[in-house]
Amino acid sequence: MKGFHAFCVVLLIFGSVSEAKFDDFEDEEDIVEYDDNDFAEFEDVAEDSATESPQRVITTEDDEDETTVELEGQDESQEGDFEDADTQEGDTESEPYDDEEFEGYEDKPDTSSSKSKDPITIVDVPAHLQNSWESYYLEILMVTGLLAYIMNYIIGKNKNSRLAQAWFNTHRELLESNFTLVGDDGTNKEATSTGKLNQENEHIYNLWCSGRVCCEGMLIQLRFLKKQDLLNVLARMMRPVSDQVQIKVTMNDEDMDTYVFAVGTRKALVRLQKEMQDLSEFCSDKPKSGAKYGLPDSLAILSEMGEVTDGMMDTKMLHFLTHYADKIESIHFSDQFSGPKILQEEGQPLKLPDTKRTLLFTFNVPGSGNTYPKDMEALLPLMNMVIYSTDKAKKFRLNREGKQKADKNRARVEENFLKLTHVQRQEAAQSRWEEKKRAEKERIMNEEDPEKQRRLEEAALRCEQKKLEKKQMKMKQIKVKAM
């Protein structure tokens, strides 16, 4: 068995060696073999022609061919050495043959030598025949770019993940002392705290907290920058932007009075005033400076009425706003919050959007894009402010005048809305009425019993007549009134 095994191994080795030899034979040395055979017959002639023809080739072909050809020449000359005596004799004997034979050849050497006297134009070998990696430099560049993108993706993703975790670790205690449910993704059967953030994206993390007095719940959204996208990273180099933390507290209806109020950076307030439905309708004035209350110049106020501002700007709130002004982007309290303005294609929506009593906070994480996990601790006082604001919103109530004003404002907004949509609503009502009639007619048609059919038709006719009469009465009344 061992012997057989060794025999197989030897066979394999022999086979591979012979295969290798064959490979050699496939290319240029095929010709060498043939040439050797040819030259064996016409020794001296072959020698000369063999030595000459490679030389002719040398001037025009590649280096590689050159080297092999030269070797060939050398090999043959070596062979020739052994047969010196013979070649010499062969020379003298075959001289006439040589002349005739070399007639053509003499011309060729002449022409080739004349060619060599003329300037040789060296043509560049085309790129795809060059067999060098350097010609593929663009491809290498592309692949390098892709690798850089992948590296940035991994690094950015990990960075965002670490920041989110650091934020949560810092705020966990405060949240757990204030809310029963900290962390919920809505999929569990029971309302148990998951105790972790929901990852929406590689750069957005959510946290839902619920089970507290005053509010239905609090949704915290960590909106980090897209550190995992290289294009975004490059764009941010031109224009520094901050990571943001958005907190949305949904209040119970009985726990918040009716007012709309916002404070924040001037730029943010201008943008919000344009985008948000409630701010554009109830706070039509431009953002006012908060210097009157001792706020820094960077912050401005948008309010439905002065009483609200006075009520909101108590000492503690002012303390928060002045100390953390650089981290505050916007704070928005509203009982009419319905999100940004919805731009519908078919004109105005037919119904006023649903509103919810909400407190919205947008904070900028310090670091302006280059945030570190330890920066998250700086946001803890802001969360305290959120909790304080929630309690304050519950306590703050408008006086009688303020309430009247607020109610008037809301009625005004509703009226405006109804006026705008009057035509659309009329059309909608008309189409509904026509639809109803059509359904009735169909029912009558489908009725198989002829008696019943007749009765239904009569009933429909009577209805129509009544309506016509009513209309006529109305027209008469209007005419009388006009007169």
């Binding site: 593929y136 892709l146 993108y149 919920d184 929406e200 994206n201 619920s210 007095v213 239905e216 294009l231």
Partner: protein, 106 residues
């Protein structure tokens, strides 16, 4: 029971479950980048395949990578994978048909 600073503000009986925001308003607010990049990637890979343009195929690969990096976790991974595979196949086919290196347009 009033919620003064001494007592516990937590109310276990008032717990509300998390409801993901309705999807009809979301598409408008959401970042459209992954969808655009996906579409661009497909267009470029088709151009690269049909017109045998190597640079189109490479741009398609980049587009599908960018789309993947910006995608939401709720999005279908099949869509991402299919656009990615298409762009890779565009690159491979361009080089199989024509092994010459890419020439810069300038």
């Amino acid at each position: 029971m009033s919620a003064n600073s001494m007592s516990d503000p937590r109310r276990p009986n008032k717990v509300l479950r998390y409801k993901p925001p309705p999807s009809e308003c979301n598409p408008a607010l959401d970042d459209p980048t992954p969808d655009y990049m996906n579409l661009l990637g497909m267009i470029f890979s088709m151009c690269g395949l049909m017109l045998k343009l190597k640079w189109c195929a490479w741009v398609a690969v980049y587009c599908s990578f960018i789309s993947f990096a910006n995608s939401r976790s709720s999005e279908d991974t099949k869509q991402m994978m299919s656009s990615f595979m298409l762009s890779i196949s565009a690159v491979v086919m361009s080089y199989l048909q024509n092994p010459q290196p890419m020439t810069p347009p300038w």
